[in-house]
Each structure stands twice: as C-alpha cells, then as structure tokens.
C-alpha cells in the first residue's frame, strides 16, 4: 500500500472517486420510483416523521422538547434501532418535500440513503486502489452495484446498505489513521457514525483491535521505552475490562445496569481507562509516531463512538444505559422469521452452517462471484504466508491491510453463519462483508487482465494493457449489470446464473422475495380495476406501507385498507412458501382459487391477486 502516491495520480483518483459517487447516487435516484416499500422501510418512514416533528419542536421550544417525556413521545417509535439514518431521512423529507416541495415524501426520505450508499463505490475504489492499484479499485467499485440485490437495497431508507457503508468507512479511516497524523480522530468518528447506524458495527472494534495491537507490538518491540508504554496501554485496558467483569459478577446484571449512573464506578472506570489510555498514547508518541498511529484509533473510537452514538439519539439522553441495554437486548433475543432454503422451511435454530455461503453463491452474479473467490483464495494464501515462512517460497506475504480486508470480507458472513443467529432478510445482514469481497474480486480481475495482456500482446503487440483491462472488466461486469436492469425493481427475487436464475432458484426451493415490496407490480392493475371504495387486503403489507403507497400516488386514495381476507373484496397475496396457508384463507373467504391477476417474474409467482365472488 503506497503511503505517498503521486499528486497527479491522487488528483485523478479523487476525480474518479467523485465520479463513482455521483454515478451511484444518480443511478439510485433515477431508478427509485418503482421500488416498493419493504415492511421495515415504512416503519422507518414513520419514525423519521416523528423525529422530524421533534426537531421542529426543538426549534420552537428547546427547553420543553428536551424533557424526557417530550423526547420519549417522539423517539420511542422504532427505538429498536439507533437514530442517525432516520434523522437524516427526517431532515431530508422536511427540507426537500415539505419545505421546497421537491419530489414525493418517499423520495425525500430516501435521498440520504442514496448518498450514504453512493459512498460505497467511492470508498471501495480508494481502498482498492491503495491496496491493488487503480484498475482493481475501479473494477471493485463498479462491481458493487452490479450485484442486483445490493442495487435494490441501495434504494431503501433502511440501514443495511448504510451500515455496510459505515463499516467500510470505519475500516478505511482506520487504515488511513496509520498513515496520517490526525487520521485517528476520523477513525473514532467513523465508528461513532457506524454504531449510530446499526448494531452490526458493535463488532468492529473486535475486528480492528487485534490489528492495532499487533501493529503496535511490532513497532515497539525494538524500543524498550516504547514497548513499556505500549504494555501499560494494554494493561490499563485489560484492567478496565477486568473491573467491569468484577462489577458485573458482584452486582448481577440488573444492578450492574441500574447503577450505571453519571457518578458511578462504571463511569469512573471508563474515564480512568480512557484518561490513562490517552496519557499512554501521549507518552508513546514521543517514542514512536507509527505505534501511536496504530493505537490511537482505538482510544478515539472509545471516546467518540459513545459520544456520537448518544448525541445522535435523543432517546438515550436521559437514560443512556438502560435504554442502550434494552436496544441491545432486543437484538440479542431477536425472533426468527421463517425462511425457505433448498426446499426446507427454516423456522427455528439451529440453521444450516453453510446457509450464508450458499445464498451468497446463488445471489452474486457468477462473473463477479468467481473473481471474489479467486481474490479471496489468493489473499488468504498470502495471509498464511505472512505467518508461515515456508509458504513464502510459493506466495508472497500479504500486507497487514490486505489481511484486514480479508478479515472484513469474512467477519459479517461468519457472524450470520452462526446456527443460532436469526437467518432472514435475504442477504442484507451480511452486506458489510460485500465491499471487501468486491475489493478482493477487483484484485483478481486486475490480475487476470494483466495475464491476458501478457498473452495477447505477444500476438498483437499494439494491444494496450488498458484496452485489455477495459474489455475484460466490461465482460465481467455486464452479466451483473444486465441482470440488475432486468430484475429491477424486484431485486430481492434475484438469483444468479449459478442458481439458474429465478426459475432455477424456484426449482431449488429458495425464497423468492421478501417483505412485500414487489406489490408495486400489481398496483397499476389494482388502480385500474378496483371499484370505488374497494376494500383491499394487501397481504404482508404493513398499514404504514399501505398509507405510503397512497400518499406517494402509487395506490388510488379511495381504496380502503382491509385487515384480512374476511373483510376484503380484493386481495393481493405475497407468494412465500411459509404463507401458503394465508393464500388458502383468501380462497376460503373469497370462494375461489382462481386468481384475477398476478405478478410473475421469469414465470415465478410473486404477487397473486384475487377478487371476491
């Protein structure tokens, strides 16, 4: 990884990065209108409305608005997720839609999601080109949104693509912190934004800390003074962890939480550890700037992380500990949603260990999956060579950044692969791995382009390396781009060529869609055929989504929402294997098994519409 790139190159790379950001943002913006509202997205719309109302009340009466009761009244809505993204959704909708009258409410909410999503190609490019060169970075960046499911999720005012972006941002800032004098501040801030986006990011310090400690150990081992300070730094944090453990054992879980007050041993331990850690860092910088840079991001994360997490989430302001505990407790005990996998309905753990790997293999276009696998194997071999000297006869050792990318490519996949972790939501829960896999794929694609050029230029000497790379990259990216365009806006239904596309996946017994957004495929028919005041049951579509379809002009305003088939005269059933009984309830209530209309993607039933006899 180059520490001092050529300034001219650097300017060009910045331009490329900005162009990638703009292209991603515009492609999401221009294709968003047809993307339906998933069940979670409408909840976040609603939460954003409440948060927006609170910010308006903050402007008109800050003293009243900051009372806990006033905060809770607005912020208890969707308190199971932190507030950063929902706050951005709220501000965007307030300013753009309500203030300036631009676009629909949904567009107002979604714009920040597009911007955050568009950071991914930018950051992938910069991290990729620093590690493997510009062509690799460019391929990796473009490839990210050539995965149809990732492109689909990039449209949603949700947290799955944003947390992938924030995770990547944190890792990128962490890497840069080792190379720049003040990068450690940004690393801490980036992690603060990440945990303020989604709980996945709480795992990040566990990924990054070993790299910091290993780097610091390597950098201080030849300097007794620096090594002593480093050991003190480690001892301080180990002591803090030990004291917290002791408090937890002595007090028990409930008392441990209850006594976590402003003036408490808990806070004292935290402040002492952070203070002592900062002092150690100050001392360390005198002996080794590099070792300081290796460790400072950790302390920065320990300080700025909680600060940003709490600052962006007013719900925590009066009761930071118990409400954070409740938030984390919710996710620790998350219920399981049924999922269809290889002809089986997965209802309860233990889930198959290979689930995440199999689903990834079947949902990433094969011409992008193969470079990822090749890049992963290659980087994995080099990572092994870093620790096993005999292997270096065959493969060169990996840099620590390459190992970091490799580890981050695996971590989210490994976490979700645990058989007790809820398996639902398609692929979105391990999105934080995907940018790193894209970078490894970029390395493989670039390597292949070089190899091809070496071979082809013997026969056609005028053939440039750039032309070969452009041709190969276009070839590798085009199946994904084609599939993305073809499946849009039904991205959760996408399956790769390896699966045989969506029909092949149906044959294999795979989940075809999730969480109701495909209902947009039948709304035009319903608008055309519904009688005035027709009672419509949109199966699995939340009440909030029904309202959102109407207020965004996608569903006629006179159509009345029915809570079930019993009080409906028209019903749109979402085809899920686990919901077949609910389709039969419609047959039962409507007196017919004959559909009136349907959305069939590549012949697979997605939404089936019935009318009462």
């Amino acid at each position: 990884m180059s520490d001092a790139p050529d300034p001219g190159d650097d300017r060009l790379d910045r331009r490329i990065g900005r162009a990638l950001f703009a292209a991603a943002f515009l492609s999401l913006l221009l294709t968003q209108q047809s993307v339906g509202f998933t069940r979670d997205e409408s909840v976040y719309f609603l939460a954003a409305e409440h948060y927006g109302a609170w910010y308006q009340s903050l402007l008109s009466g800050p003293v009243t608005a900051t009372q806990d009761a006033a905060i809770v009244a607005r912020w208890r809505v969707n308190a199971e997720h932190p507030a950063l993204m929902k706050t951005l959704f709220a501000w965007s909708e307030l300013v753009l839609h309500r203030g300036l009258g631009i676009g629909s409410p949904a567009l107002g909410f979604r714009l920040p999601a597009f911007a955050v999503a568009a950071l991914i190609p930018l950051l992938v490019f910069h991290l990729g080109r620093r590690l493997y060169g510009r062509p690799a970075g460019l391929f990796a960046a473009v490839s990210f949104f050539c995965v149809p499911r990732q492109f689909f999720h990039g449209h949603l005012a949700c947290f799955d693509i944003p947390v992938a972006a924030m995770w990547l941002l944190t890792v990128y800032a962490f890497v840069r912190a080792h190379q720049t004098p003040r990068g450690w501040v940004w690393a801490g801030a980036a992690w603060g934004l990440a945990i303020a986006t989604k709980h996945n990011a709480f795992f990040l310090p566990l990924v990054l800390a070993p790299f910091s400690l290993w780097r610091a150990h390597r950098l201080t081992r030849h300097s007794p003074e620096a090594d002593r300070v480093f050991q003190r730094y480690v001892a301080v944090h180990a002591a803090a962890v030990g004291l917290y453990g002791l408090l937890f054992i002595v007090l028990g879980e409930e008392q441990f939480k209850a006594r976590f007050l402003a003036l408490s041993p808990h806070v004292a331990i935290y402040l002492a550890a952070v203070g002592a850690g900062a002092w150690c860092l100050h001392q360390l910088r005198r002996h080794s700037e590099d070792a300081f840079r290796a460790l400072a991001p950790l302390t920065s994360m320990a300080v700025l992380g909680p600060l940003l997490f709490v600052a962006t989430w007013p719900y925590l302001w009066h009761h930071p500990v118990d409400r954070t505990a409740a938030y984390l407790g919710y996710h620790a005990g998350h219920e399981h949603y049924t999922w269809f996998y290889l002809g089986r309905l997965l209802r309860q753990p233990p889930f198959p260990l290979a689930y995440v790997v199999v689903v990834t293999a079947l949902t990433v276009p094969v011409s992008l999956l193969l470079p990822m696998v090749a890049g992963f194997i290659s980087a994995g071999a080099r990572a092994l060579a870093s620790t096993w000297a005999r292997l270096r006869a065959w493969v060169p050792a990996a840099s620590w950044v390459e190992v970091l990318v490799l580890v981050n490519a695996v971590v989210s996949i490994a976490i979700i692969s645990h058989p007790q972790v809820p398996h639902f939501g398609g692929v979105k829960h391990w999105f934080p791995s995907m940018p790193f896999l894209a970078i490894l794929g970029g390395a493989a694609a670039d390597r292949s382009a070089r190899e091809l050029h070496a071979r082809l230029s013997r026969r056609w000497p005028k053939l440039t390396a750039r032309a070969v790379a452009a041709g190969l990259f276009a070839l590798l990216l085009s199946p994904g781009a084609w599939a993305t365009a073809r499946i849009h806006p039904y991205g959760t239904a996408y399956y790769s060529e390896l699966a045989g596309g969506l029909p092949g996946a149906a044959g294999l017994g795979m989940q075809r869609q999730f969480w109701s957004s495909h209902v947009t495929g039948v709304l035009p028919w319903i608008n055309q055929h519904a009688r005035p005041g027709e009672r419509l049951y949109l199966h699995e579509v939340r009440e909030e989504s029904f309202r959102d379809y109407q207020r965004n002009g996608m569903l006629r305003a006179d159509v009345v929402r029915a809570g079930g088939p019993q009080d409906a005269t028209m019903a749109a059933y979402q085809y899920h294997q686990e919901f077949r009984a609910q389709e039969l309830e419609i047959w039962q209530a409507f007196g017919t098994a004959h559909p009136a209309y349907g959305l069939y993607v590549d012949e697979t039933p997605q939404i089936v519409v019935y009318r009462r006899r």
Partner: protein
C-alpha cells in the same frame, strides 16, 4: 517439484481463462433465458386446449410445481395442482390428468418428475406444444372413485364431545357454515381450505377438545367401499415444532358399534399427512374422532374417504 513462480503462473493462467469464460457463459444464460419462458399467448392457448377437451374430474398438474402462472388462464372448473411435492401426488380423485410442463426451465428436474409421475399413468394422445409449454393428457391409473368423503358430508353429520367412548359430555351445534361448534369446549369442526406441508386441500378442520375428551363426528350412512382411507395432518407452522410441551394428536375412525377401523397418531414435529388405509368398510355409520391431551396448536386437517377400486394401468 513445482516452483513458486510456476505455481503462481499456473494459477494466473487458470484465473485468466476461468473469469472471462464464466462471464461468457453468464451472458449466454441471460441471452437464452427469455427463450425458455412461455409467452402469455402460450398459456392462453394451452388453457384453451384444456377447456376444449376437459371432462368432469380432470385436473391440471404443473411441472415444475411452482409454475402457477397457469392458474391465471386455466378453466375455472378444472383444478390446478402445483405444490412442493405434487410431482408424487396420486391425485386419486382425478380420472384424467392434464400435465402442463415446462421441462426446459433451469432445475426443472424432468428426470425426477418422470420417475414420480409416470408409474400408473398412460398417455391419452400426443403431447401438444405451445411455445415452451408442453401439454399432455394422461389416464390416471391411480384413480379411485370417491364414494364418500367426510369433509364433503360434514354438514350431514352429528357432532359431540365425549369423555370416554360412548360417554357424551356436550352436544355440538351447527355453526351455520356447514360445521360445528361445541359449547363448553374449544372443539370445533368445519370444512375449509387448509395447507398441510404445502399441499392445499379442502378438508375437515378439526380442533380437539383437549384432555381425555374427544370430538366425535358421526356420519349416519357411509356406503360400502373397496377401501377406507383416513388422512390427517397438523395445520399451520405448529406442525414443524418439537417444543417439549406439545403433545401427540390422535385421529381415528370407528364404525357404528364403536370398533376402530383406522387410526393415526401425529407426534410433534411430524409434518405432512398421515394415512391409514384399510379394506372395506361395509355400509353403515362412521365416526371420525380426534383427541389430544393438550389441544394447543394441535389442529388437524382430516378426511375419511370410502373409495372404489383403483383404475389400474
């Protein structure tokens, strides 16, 4: 001994061949997929052919099972059968089967389908093609005429809850929709569409009263038949659960004198239909009953069929 350089060179060459090859194959897949899918007009033409040749009792069977778009077009009086596992369905109530097939779809599993479907079936005429759709009519050798169905005859039954065989606790009353409610108990019976392990079926939905009590439905005059078939399966997702507090549910058929003719026991975690086949019965009353020590989540979709002889190949 292969050197490091040689090994890396080999890997690079393999990578440089495999990556573009994969992309070319992927492009070929996307280019050819639309040609493997039927047009709307193909479905309409196939449905018109079924409508022109249909006879009472016919069904349309889909292959692959999930190609349900055909339901949009099929004649309303011809049931369309397509569910995970329908390849193996005997379709005993259908003398003839229209097989609507799309064997060119990825992972269509044509070989497995043939193995499951063809035994006992013989083609009636030539296969017809409508775009990528294949339509063939088959005589169903597994057909057995249904002489009596408890689900179909539920409205003519009497129902009660009894604490022991012959000891009535409560009479059940008609619910006005062809079924029964049992005041004083959670037991009930009705005819509904229900799903048991993906298979939709119109059956008797039975809720057991719980404890030692059993819900009994008496059908006064079932005909003599070649075979008695009792089928029952737990409905909803509870069928899959093996939680320790769940208990087995027992469904049985007695004759008018109280002798058990057929019985199935469904344990927690056992999905799908359980079937007990017996020769006979002779003409007379039949009693369908259900019992579960703990009634929670133990609702059953059941039917008792008195069937004639199998049509044969």
């Amino acid at each position: 001994m292969v050197s490091g350089d040689q090994l890396r060179g080999l890997a690079r060459r393999a990578e440089a061949v495999a990556l573009p090859a994969a992309a070319i194959l992927a492009l070929a897949f996307h280019a050819t997929l639309p040609s493997r899918l039927p047009e709307e007009a193909d479905h309409a033409a196939a449905a018109a052919a079924v409508a022109a040749g249909k006879q009472p009792g016919d069904v349309v069977l889909l292959h692959p099972w999930w190609t349900e778009r055909a339901r949009l077009f099929a004649p309303e009086d011809v049931p369309v059968v397509g569910y995970l596992g329908s390849d193996r369905a005997n379709l005993e109530q259908a003398p003839r089967i229209w097989l609507l097939s799309q064997p060119g779809l990825p992972h269509a599993g044509a070989g497995e389908f043939r193995d499951a479907f063809f035994p006992g079936r013989s083609p009636l005429g030539e296969e017809r093609r409508f775009g990528t759709l294949r339509l063939s009519l088959f005589r169903n050798g597994r057909f057995r005429p249904t002489l009596f169905s408890a689900a179909a005859a539920l409205a003519q039954a009497r129902a009660w809850v009894e604490s022991a065989p012959g000891v009535k606790r409560w009479e059940c009353v008609p619910d006005g929709r062809g079924g029964f409610q049992c005041p004083g108990s959670n037991a009930r019976a009705s005819v509904e569409w229900q799903e048991v392990r993906f298979e939709p079926r119109r059956c008797a939905h039975l809720s057991p009263p719980g404890g030692p009590d059993r819900l009994v439905l008496e059908f006064p005059a079932a005909p003599a038949a070649d075979r008695l078939s009792l089928e029952a399966g737990l409905i909803w997702e509870f069928a899959a659960y093996r939680n320790p507090h769940l208990r087995p549910v027992v469904v049985g058929v007695d004759d008018g004198a109280g002798a058990t003719l057929a019985q199935v026991t469904i344990n927690p975690g056992e999905e799908g239909y359980h079937r007990d086949l017996r020769p006979g019965p002779s003409a007379g009353p039949l009693r369908l009953w259900i019992r579960a020590e703990l009634a929670e989540s133990r609702e059953v979709c059941a039917d008792v069929l008195a069937q004639g002889p199998e049509a044969g190949p």
